[in-house]
Amino acid sequence: MNAPASGLSLEQAPPISVPFRFFLSAPLFLLLAALLVLVSGPQALASRWTPALLALTHLITLGFLSMTMIGALMQQLPVVAGAPMRRQQVVAWMVHIPLLAGTLMLVSGLFYSQTALLRLAIFPLGFAFSTFLVAAAGSLSASQVHHATTRAMRFAGTALALAAGLGITLAGTLGGYFNLPLNELIGLHVGWGLLGWVGLLVMGVAYQVVPMFQLTPAYPARLTRWLGGSVFLLLCGWSLAPQLPLPLATWGTSLTAAGLAIGFALFAGTTLYLHKKRRRKLVDVTLRFWRTGMLSLLAAIALWTTAHLTSAIADDPRYPIALGILFMFGFAISVVIGMLYKIVPFLVWLHLQSRLPRDKPAPNMKQIIPDHGSRRHWWMHMATLLLLLGSMAWPQLVYPAGLSLGLASCMLWLNLLAATRLYRQLAR
């Protein structure tokens, strides 16, 4: 009885500083990404193997996506799984600082091709992810709640462990520690990181928050029951298929990859359908970001499918970059920003109203982050997405794209900072 009972107590929700340190750091990595695009120019997006592009990718996946996703999980695990995380403040310190430092080391190592930095980055990053994973596993194993979301979170956590482990092996290989086949490792690292850690976590979170924020019908149980597990198993199959004897290996890889594409297309399609069926009529900024995210995910899948049918596209060096823009920026970043615009003002309100005297009501969510601020950011975000995609055809567009990405990340950071300052002012 103890675990679920304690999970319901607000006293065990972490202090606001636990998630906010992650949220406030993340936009700065997007800003760094923008500066990197502006400094490198069209060269940055010339191939997926340029040092600038490798650095850019990790600024996004580690600096922005993992940073916010870990911060949100530390806050949300108690609510969703009914089980608090032990020693959250200590864990927050032990994850945030090494993640921050490790990302900066890895990114500079990749950008300046400094293998010594890559070798060094392994330690803080390995420490950050293993600390987080141990803490999250402890919380989830104490949880007596078993539903599609906690299941997807377990799969996402396992995928993170694999992606991080593969990443560390890769950094070690580039740094000269080991001598392993790079290309195979990179494929696995990207698959587990993007489809596993990011994709499965978004899926699991969506099952709860899409109905909750927009008052849509629930995701159909026959979808949520098997989708997360299938994606996870398909990723396992896709990872192991190349070990089969030859014609089977090719078939296995294509079939599992097609299965993954279908799984994510079903998820995006269902989410858009549920949005259409929502009972809450107004179109808020989170809905805009999520629609952008789901349409980008569908576009990424369409591009991937076309490339598999047309070798001219598959062989074009711009193809993996366009795919990355659609998946990482269009899908993952959009969805995460949409979540931040709900979580951040709500947490400020929640913590304030328990601290303020009764006759002094806490400001409401739209006073904490006004609509016009977040909506302006969405427009800038859309401009960035279109300019980034446009730069695939007209390389000179990377300059306005970098500028727009810089402005968008400043807008996000200032919106979050204003909310934090309001909290500090009133909580005093």
């Binding site: 999970g7 319901l8 009501p361």
Partner: protein
């Protein structure tokens, strides 16, 4: 068979419908309709809270002996929501669409995460604790509905 979980969860969905209608009318500054639908929302919510506070929670506390646990937190969140209802009522009277929209957004998340905790944890825990007595508890809540 209808269970406590099914009955109270479907009542949550019903409250959500009234919430959405009121929010839509207020956003369109359709104040006569907003007033009516907000009142309907508030009274459905109050009735739901009363079923829990007068029947479900005491029965849970009696059965498990836990009085400072989940029911305490749920009662506190009910109070937080009642405060927001009062401010929303004032916003409807003052015909202040911005204030209503901000309060409504805040209430939505508070309410939904509250419902999530009840539906995921408290209701299943109660059913488990009540065993065969569950039906009587459910009946008692339903009787409150007919009286109301």
């Amino acid at each position: 068979m209808e269970t406590i979980s099914v009955y109270l969860s479907s009542d949550h969905r019903c409250c959500d419908d009234y919430f959405a209608t009121a929010e839509d009318h207020a956003a369109k500054r359709n104040w006569a309709a907003a007033t009516a639908s907000f009142e309907q929302f508030r009274s459905t919510m109050s009735h739901h809270f009363e079923m829990e506070e007068h029947v479900l929670f005491p029965a849970f506390e009696q059965e498990t002996g836990i009085t400072q646990g989940p029911t305490q937190v749920m009662r506190m969140e009910h109070e937080q929501m009642r405060e927001l209802f009062a401010r929303m009522a004032a916003a409807v009277t003052a015909q202040d669409a911005d204030e209503y929209a901000g309060l409504s957004e805040t209430l939505l998340i508070l309410l939904q995460q509250h419902n999530l905790k009840e539906e995921n944890v408290l209701y299943p825990m109660s059913e488990q604790a009540f065993g065969s007595r569950g039906e009587a508890v459910l009946q008692q809540m339903k009787e409150m509905s007919t009286v109301a």
